[in-house]
Amino acid sequence: MIRITVELVGRAAEAGEKTVPLEVPDGATPADAAERLVSRFPALDWLRRVTRPAVNLEYTTWDHALRDGDEVAFIPPVSGG
């Protein structure tokens, strides 16, 4: 198992927590992390459909292999400016 941190950002932060530590199997992906997160916070079931994953502050793909200590975030479509 590896330990990662999920930062809940944008609308997802309204789930109640901002930072969620997770343990996931070696080779897990942002898609796996999202699934685990949604099982804990069912109100976030829209995450996988709506957001783009980011790892260590860079956009990435849903099948990116996570490493121990990674910071993962699921980025809703942005609306700054």
């Binding site: 944008g10 709506v50 980011a54 975030a73 809703p76 942005v78 609306s79 700054g80 400016g81």
Partner: protein
């Protein structure tokens, strides 16, 4: 270069002062202000939220790319928190040798910011509120468990 996310009010003067230099004959600025209406509704105020460490990194990348591509100097700040009607949420100053490049670089910074920097606005009206995601409204906010 300045590329910052801040919870404090922002003003243009320090950004202009940062980019002005003897080689630059053109300074272009952009201000994004809070508008009192959106999609036919009257807006009371906006709340901006950011994934700050990633937003600052992305903002810096955009400013660096603009500086490289147009040989300009860029200063950009985006504010978070509650903003009243008329207040600036984003300010940009760009200086180049000539005006065409300065206009293009400034436009690149604001357009790219709006596409990639993880910042979100929530519109608050008299009788409700909604997060904006991309060009449209997000579905009703998640309910507390």
């Amino acid at each position: 270069m300045i590329a910052e996310i801040t919870a404090q009010p922002i003003t243009l003067d320090p950004l202009i002062a940062h980019v002005e230099r003897p080689e630059a004959g053109a300074v272009v600025t952009f201000a994004g202000n809070v508008r009192n209406h959106s999609r036919g509704r009257r807006v009371e105020y906006l709340e901006y939220d950011a994934y700050v460490p990633m937003a600052e990194r992305k903002l810096r990348e955009i400013a660096e790319e603009a500086e490289r591509r147009w040989e300009c100097r860029v200063a950009v700040r985006h504010r978070t928190g509650r903003l009243e009607i008329g207040e600036p949420s984003v300010l940009i100053a760009v200086s180049c040798a000539h005006r065409a490049a300065a206009f293009d670089a400034c436009r690149y910074v604001i357009d790219t910011l709006k596409q990639t920097v993880p910042i979100w606005k929530k519109e608050v009206w008299e009788d409700g509120e909604v997060w904006i995601e991309g060009e449209g409204e997000a579905p009703a906010s998640v309910c507390p468990p």
